[in-house]
Amino acid sequence: MLQNLILNIDAGTIDWSRAQFALTAIYHWLFVPLTLGLAVIMGIVETKYYLTKDEFWKTAAKFWQRLFGINFAMGVATGIILEFEFGTNWSNYSWFVGDIFGAPLAIEGIVAFFMESTFVAVMFFGWKKVSAGFHLASTWLTGLGATISAWWILVANAWMQYPVGCAFNPDTMRNEMVSFTDVALSPFAISKFCHTVTSAWIIGAIFCVGVCCWYLLKKQHTRLAVESMKIGAAVGLVASLLAGGTGHKSGMDVAEVQPMKLAAMEALYDGGTEVGLKLVEGIEVPYGLSIMATNDPKGYVPGINDILNGYTTNDGKVEPSVEEKMARGRQAIEALAAYRKAKAMGADEATLNAQLTILNANMQYFGYGYIQDKNDVVPPVAINFWAFRVMVGVGCLFILFFAVILAVSYRWPKFLFGKRDITALPAWHYWVAILLIPLGYIGSECGWLVAEFGRQPWTIQDMLPTWASVSDIQASNVAFTFFLFLILFTTMLVVEISILLKQIKKGPQS
């Protein structure tokens, strides 16, 4: 794909910039889901304390809050590096989207700072200083603050996948927000938020269950382990089912606005109606993909070749071929150049308006003007195909896993689990639960791989490809900071894991 790179932008700059962004986002996403997930666990545990006034629950709440605090501290500001990368490696993109990103990211920063700095302090310092009710509210508001932060970040991400609520200004060369509501409440952002947050709750739940199983394996802190495991498994089961539902809605959104991503996820080259969902190559669920994409077993799903060559949907909507879009994209860029030249020369309104009319008529395909070969708009199929399967597979496994943990914990139904004692299972049962923690992270990261690899080559869907977005900088500079980050983030991760393990070994402290 990158061999079509033009002018003096080194292909290595794009690859290193993409790799660096991916590395930063992947590491950042190791901290965030545990923060969001543990927030729910510690909130429920403290609610139990509030309702029962049993000191056991207070000790348990403090224990989970301690683990939350470690992860929270390690994750603080790791996301800000992504903004640095925008300014240095992706300056064209950064300028092009500036006004759209400004508002959500500013709100995110303010909300994160005020909510988290206030309520985290009350949660950790306020046990003997504020009422039990206020403390409980602060604990939930800490989690809510982190979740609201995630909302604004995902609004920004969703806009790149489905740019709405904006208009391109050829004078400032920026997309300007024309409807804050359309950006903030974009259906794509809502689906993405629901799916991402519910998947984060799964990470919190599997972490909680894994830690509890460690205690049961070591025969330590048994009551905390059993009671917390019930909460963790219940949160995990509900979250896994919700993630399945929100994932379906996300799939429908992708089918509508990013059909190429869906086709790549399914390695579907030639689409049609009544399309099956591949479990793996050669085995498929009849009608599955049509249902996933359209909620209709007879729904039309375009394949990669259909999208490249143009297609007509069941309801008669005609989608132009990529070559047509490339021609319209070139028209848009030429009109932009002509408009700016005419304006600089002091041309009259009619001349300017004529160019603006051409630009606006073709603006939705602006990014296609940078495409040389139509196959460049096909994202990496194998990565999307397998990452999607790992994500869904892990999600389905977790539904079963959390259901079994709950059943064994409550010994229900009796004929199946009546004689099982969750505290006296063979050791390998506990090891399975502990080893599922990294699997949860792999599933979660695969979700992001699908979201981000699936939209390649676009940094902004249909408007800007990576090679037009990147700055004209030396690849070696980006490569150097890539390895710098690799060392920095790995060190942080090792430090976090060692502190977490130390605190888990210490256990709850009354």
Partner: protein
């Protein structure tokens, strides 16, 4: 300021909280080191604002030139 004053209570919450931290001290040390590395080392030496350096106040013109010239 009396001990019942709201501002005193807020001050005392933070003062007492920070003073009695154990694990928190380590975490704050890590946070401060990390913020120093991110905002002083990385931002200052490795992540300059590319447009500010190259466009010198004419960002729109610079980006327009880049985006128009990169057309295939």
């Amino acid at each position: 300021m009396t001990k019942n004053n709201f501002l005193y209570k807020v001050y005392h919450l933070y003062y007492d909280g920070f003073r009695s931290m154990k694990l928190g001290r380590t975490l704050w040390a890590i946070i401060l080191i990390k913020l120093f590395v991110i905002f002083v080392v990385l931002k200052l030496f490795f992540f300059p604002n590319f447009l500010k350096q190259h466009a010198k106040g004419h960002e729109a013109e610079y980006v327009a030139k880049e985006l128009i010239e990169r057309k295939n």
